[in-house]
Each structure stands twice: as structure tokens, then as C-alpha cells.
């Protein structure tokens, strides 16, 4: 229970001279839903992308489900460690990034079959369950191009869940959606948190969702987490002047 699923310690990341993350420490325990928010450019995406090494941190350590990663040359062992972290940490992108040449079902079973070597029939059965869970059972044979944005994002969630991750990371999952499609994605995420107790890290500015679902909120400012606490406290009584100002702007 006390052992965190994700542990980020002293994470630094620079792009050239631009130091984007300035020493992030963050623990996420099992079943927790951490909402990360803050101004554009404050480094929220970079944090998530460093956790699964889509971006190589400059220094610091990442630990996901007991696998420890530090930046270093991509030796065979390093590559395998990165891959096992990626399998444990599912990721949902703002732009969905579904595979357009595959059907919805094929999108969902691709990684379980190819990466985990799972039996295809079993993967299909699991995928059908997941598609039902996100409300898209009837779309299994469509190609992504035929789906609305909200449907695409729900498929992307099912695709990530099919790997049975220990934590799901969402990078502004509703920012690319038309307003009327946002709620269908949020409600899938909500039931993921409440019904299956999925551990989640969610970058979002949907404060309604945060208030309702988050166990903890972390406010990012210029590459640092300047404030973290339960939503009731952070939203109602922000301690930091920057948090206060940001919340006034979005609420």
C-alpha cells in the first residue's frame, strides 16, 4: 500500500539551455489519481514523457512498478528497462495517435500480441471487453478515420488498458476535442478511477473532473511542483500565489 507505483526523484530536464524540469519529486501510490495542472509551457507534458522515456531526462531517477530507470546510453539492458517501464505505464496522448491502417480492434490487440506475445484469440476477447467498457463495442471493425474525436480517444484509452498497465498517464486527453465530446471521455476516465481503481496521472485543466476524481492535485510552475494536496484544499484554499492566480483564470 505504501510502496508507490510511480516514484520520480530529483528529475531534471533541459532542452539546450532551456531548463524545463528543475528537480521534480513525485510519488504516486496505488489507486491514486494525481491531476497535474499549470500554465502552458510549465513542463507538464515533459514530466509524463520523461517518465516513460519518450524524452530522456537530463538527470534524476524514475521508478515504475519496481523498475528503476536513470538516463544513460541506450545499451541493450537500458532499452529493455525502458520497455518494461513503458509496458507498465500506459499513455494517452492529446492527439490520440491511433494507428490509421488498423481497425479499432486491431489497434487494441496490436501491442498485447506483438509486444507481450499474447495469444491472439485471448487478446481479442480482452479487447472486446475493453471496447465495451469504453462504450465502443459496435465500432470494433471500423477504421479510426471514421470515428469522432471522442470515440478515437476512448479507443486510445482501451488500447493503453489492453497492456494491463500499473499506471495510466493522460496528457491533456480532452484538449483536442470539441466541447460536446469532452464529457464522454471524462466519464470513461472517471469510471476507470472509481470502478477499477486504476492508478492515474492526468494532465488536465478540467477542474470539475479534478474536484470529483482526483485524490491529489499538483500545481506546476516553471518546472517545479509548487503546491500539492487534495483537491478540496488546493482548489478551495491555494497556498501559493501562482496557484491562486491560475485557478482564478480557469475557474
Amino acid at each position: 500500500m505504501t510502496e508507490p507505483v510511480v516514484r520520480v526523484s530529483q528529475l531534471h530536464k533541459s532542452f539546450g539551455d532551456n531548463e524545463v524540469l528543475k528537480g521534480i519529486d513525485l510519488d504516486v501510490t496505488r489507486g491514486e489519481v494525481v491531476v497535474i495542472f499549470g500554465r502552458s509551457g510549465s513542463g507538464k507534458s515533459t514530466l509524463l514523457r520523461c517518465i516513460n522515456f519518450l524524452e530522456e531526462p537530463t538527470s534524476g531517477t524514475i521508478e515504475v512498478g519496481g523498475v528503476r530507470l536513470e538516463p544513460g546510453p541506450r545499451t541493450h539492458r537500458q532499452r529493455e528497462a525502458i520497455r518494461s517501464v513503458r509496458i507498465k505505464a500506459g499513455m494517452v496522448f492529446q492527439e490520440f495517435n491511433l494507428f490509421p491502417h488498423l481497425t479499432v480492434l486491431e489497434n487494441v490487440i496490436e501491442a498485447p500480441v506483438t509486444v507481450k506475445g499474447q495469444d491472439r484469440a485471448h487478446s481479442v476477447a480482452v479487447a472486446e471487453e475493453l471496447l465495451a467498457q469504453v462504450g465502443l463495442a459496435d465500432k470494433r471493425d471500423e477504421h479510426p478515420i471514421r470515428l469522432s474525436g471522442g470515440q478515437k480517444q476512448r479507443v486510445a484509452i482501451a488500447r493503453a488498458l489492453a497492456m494491463e498497465p500499473e499506471v495510466m498517464m493522460f496528457d491533456e486527453p480532452t484538449s483536442a476535442l470539441d466541447p460536446e465530446l469532452i464529457s464522454e471521455v471524462l466519464s470513461v476516465m472517471r469510471s476507470l478511477a472509481t470502478e477499477t481503481q486504476m492508478t492515474m496521472m492526468v494532465v488536465t485543466h478540467e477542474m470539475g473532473f479534478a474536484r470529483e476524481v482526483a485524490t491529489s492535485m499538483a500545481f506546476f510552475h516553471e518546472g517545479l511542483i509548487v503546491e500539492q494536496g487534495p483537491p478540496g484544499q488546493v482548489i478551495a484554499d491555494p497556498q501559493h500565489a501562482q496557484t491562486k492566480r491560475f485557478l482564478e483564470a480557469v475557474l
Partner: protein, 287 residues
């Protein structure tokens, strides 16, 4: 007068006019040939002999394009990789084979390759001694592979970075990513220009005749040279060869156009106005 002519011309459909122009050109060509004491009967008599080179031309190009596609794939992956070895090797390969004439490459492979074997290893020397056809296929494959590396590179790069990241985030290895995600999407951009390269290769395969080849394996141009020289009818022989190449490339061009059309309509988004929200984007049906 001029006014009348323009009036008259405006009434004729464009396609008819185009056909008339082709017809006139054909008449002029026939007239010029008739001046040159042209032996049509000889051409008809030897058409079959020269046309027997057709299957060889196609086989040569078929094998060479397979080699070229393979080399282009690895060439492109090498150029896009961040390994110094892969970039160095593929950079050298494309630079050499694009920077030297095809005919020179053919002779190098045909004549120089056996010389590489040390004299005390006659077995190796024998296996490096290629027939004209083998040398021709390898040279065509290497040369076209070098040019097609760019086609493959552009195709692979056209697949969005988001696709690669999504595959990476799912834990796919480089090979899995390429095989399952990137190449299947790149292929639709790679196939049409590869068809063009194949058509160009049909013509370049005539160069193999310069290496000489055994009678049983002669492609179109070598056959034309042979009978033309034997009967002192080189012009007639080359006209037959030209006609055969022309027919061949025209047939493949038709295929090519069909294929291209198919590939371009498959994924294309056509914007259709819809009263239902969320279904504005509809994939158009493949032709």
C-alpha cells in the same frame, strides 16, 4: 481565312484534335522511313526473334527491382538511423551508385569482380565470375536501390512522429515499430514511385546487351543488335526493338496509373456535410 480556320478548329473536340496530331506525326515518320529504303518484310520476319527477348527483359527487371527494393529499404533505415556505422555504410552506398554511370557499374561488376579473388583461390574466382545477365541484374539492382533509398526514406518520414511515439509508448521495439506501424503506412507512398522506377529500369536494361550474353538469355536489345548486324539491317532491327520497349512501358504505365489511383483514394478524407454530429469525416470508397 485565318478567322475561318480558327472558327472551324474551335468546333472540333480536343480529343479528336489530339488524335489528328498523333496521326500526322505517324504519317511523317512513315514517310521518312519510306525514303530510307525500309524493309518492312524483314521486320515482320524477325519480329518474333527479337520479341523472344521480352520475357528476359521482364525477368531481368523483376529480379533487379526485388534487389533494389530490398537495398532501398535497408538504405533508408540506415540513413534514418542514429548509428554511425549504418549511416556511413548507406551514405557511401548511395553516393557511389548515384555518382557513377550505370554502364560503368555494370562493367565493374562483370569484369572487375572476378579480379578481386586471389589467384590461389580459383574456386572463389569462378564464383565471382558472373554471366552478363547476373552482372546486369546486380548492377541494375544496386543502382536503382541507391536512387530508391530516397523514395523509401521520404515514405518512412511521411509517417507522423505521433505514430512512432504511440508505438514506443506501448513498448514496441524498433523492429516491431517499423514492421507493424511505420512501413505499412509508408508503403502506400512508396509503391507509385517504385512503379515509375521499374518502368525506367525496363529501358535501362538494354545496357546489359553491351556486356554480351549467351544466345539463350538475350534480352530485347541484344537480339536486335545481333540480327540487325547479321543481315545488315540495323535500322529495321532497332525500330522493332524501340517499338517493343514502347509497348512494354506503355502497358506498365497503364497498370501504374491504375495502382496509383487505387492507393490515393483508399485513405483520402472526403469532407461530407452531415446532419449528424461526429460523422463529418467519411472515408471514400476505393475505386
Amino acid at each position: 481565312m485565318r478567322e475561318r480556320l480558327e472558327q472551324w478548329s474551335a468546333d472540333i473536340p480536343f480529343k479528336v484534335k489530339l488524335g489528328m496530331v498523333w496521326g500526322v506525326i505517324a504519317l511523317i515518320v512513315v514517310f521518312l522511313f519510306s525514303l530510307a529504303d525500309f524493309d518492312v518484310q524483314w521486320m515482320l520476319d524477325h519480329l518474333w526473334f527479337i520479341a523472344q527477348g521480352l520475357p528476359w527483359t521482364i525477368i531481368i527487371c523483376g529480379l533487379a527491382i526485388i534487389l533494389a527494393v530490398t537495398l532501398a529499404l535497408f538504405g533508408a533505415l540506415g540513413r534514418l538511423s542514429n548509428s554511425a556505422v549504418a549511416q556511413g555504410v548507406t551514405g557511401f552506398y548511395t553516393s557511389f551508385f548515384r555518382g557513377t554511370p550505370l554502364i560503368v557499374q555494370m562493367f565493374l561488376i562483370f569484369l572487375a569482380l572476378p579480379q578481386l579473388a586471389p589467384p590461389n583461390l580459383p574456386g572463389l574466382r569462378d564464383s565471382l565470375t558472373l554471366t552478363a545477365l547476373q552482372a546486369g541484374v546486380i548492377a541494375l539492382g544496386l543502382n536503382y536501390g541507391a536512387y530508391m533509398t530516397e523514395i523509401f526514406r521520404a515514405g518512412i518520414q511521411s509517417v507522423g512522429h505521433g505514430q512512432v511515439e504511440a508505438a514506443e509508448a506501448l513498448g514496441m521495439t524498433y523492429r516491431q515499430r517499423m514492421r507493424r506501424i511505420v512501413l505499412p503506412q509508408a508503403i502506400r507512398l512508396i509503391i507509385p514511385p517504385t512503379g515509375n522506377e521499374f518502368i525506367a529500369m525496363l529501358k535501362d536494361s538494354a545496357l546489359i546487351s553491351l556486356l554480351g550474353s549467351v544466345v539463350a538469355q538475350m534480352e530485347i536489345f541484344r537480339r536486335a543488335q545481333l540480327v540487325g548486324r547479321a543481315d545488315f539491317r540495323p535500322l529495321e532491327a532497332f525500330v522493332v526493338a524501340a517499338a517493343l520497349y514502347w509497348i512494354l512501358t506503355t502497358i506498365f504505365q497503364v497498370f501504374q496509373a491504375k495502382l496509383e489511383q487505387r492507393l490515393s483514394t483508399g485513405y483520402v478524407r472526403t469532407l461530407r456535410v452531415s446532419t449528424q454530429p461526429g460523422v463529418e469525416l467519411v472515408e471514400s470508397e476505393p475505386a
